[in-house]
Symmetry: C2
Subunit: 106 residues, 2 copies
DNA sequence: ACCCAGTACTATATAATGTATAGTAGCTAA
DNA sequence: TTAGCTACTATACATTATATAGTACTGGGT
């Protein structure tokens, strides 16, 4: 899949998946990859950045399937940022679709 | 507007706008900016790259409103590439919308 | 006891691309 | 003649997805 299209959207995906429950990195990679193929190396930098910016709180929890998991919990600021991103996406994709429709109507 | 969302899409926009008739750079900047705000510095590198890759043929034409204009004409390969990009975009935006719908249904 | 696969995270370097900024140059109108 | 619009070029920069490598824990097969 077109790599450039993903720019900015992975952030949105990560935030959405943490909306209903706390998630850990490895889980996010595989959940998101069901829809949009991504690499492990893409998720962890995003998680660190969003945490640094105050959109996630984190805590460690033991696992019986491997090393401890770092869980990411959406903060209030994170929720607001997510809403903004979704709104931006809706406007953006609408504009792109209009350009395509107007340009391709044969 | 979210800068990252634009990555990869400007290319698609440029190609679409040259589908019905040949265009020059300055014209493209302003046409596309009606829908998605972009800078002059974004368009010209794209035009040079797409030309280098064989998706555009170019020719100069005089203008009575300023310096000569370099027109960009979509090649057959350019048309095929555009079709591919639109197809990629449709799949991508569908996936993103599914993720948003599934994640935000309260 | 040993090795391998799967799980889980971290760190670094790289590639792609939109933007900012600056510069060149032609035309028209006040 | 000067300002403003038109039109293109070039360079440096910021952001972000990826590739790659490494650390480390668990459990199963031999």
């Amino acid at each position: 899949m077109n790599v450039q299209f993903k720019k900015g959207i992975l952030e949105l995906c990560v935030l959405i998946y943490t909306l209903k429950k706390d998630r850990y990195g490895y889980e996010l990679v595989h959940s998101i990859s069901d829809k949009i193929q991504i690499a492990e190396g893409s998720i962890y930098p995003i998680l660190r950045r969003l945490t640094k910016e105050g959109y996630f709180a984190t805590y460690l929890a033991e696992s019986n399937e491997g090393p401890p998991r770092k869980y990411y919990q959406l903060t209030h600021a994170g929720r607001e940022y997510l809403d903004q991103l979704v709104s931006d996406w809706n406007l953006f994709s609408k504009s792109v679709n209009e350009i395509i429709e107007e340009g391709m109507d044969t």
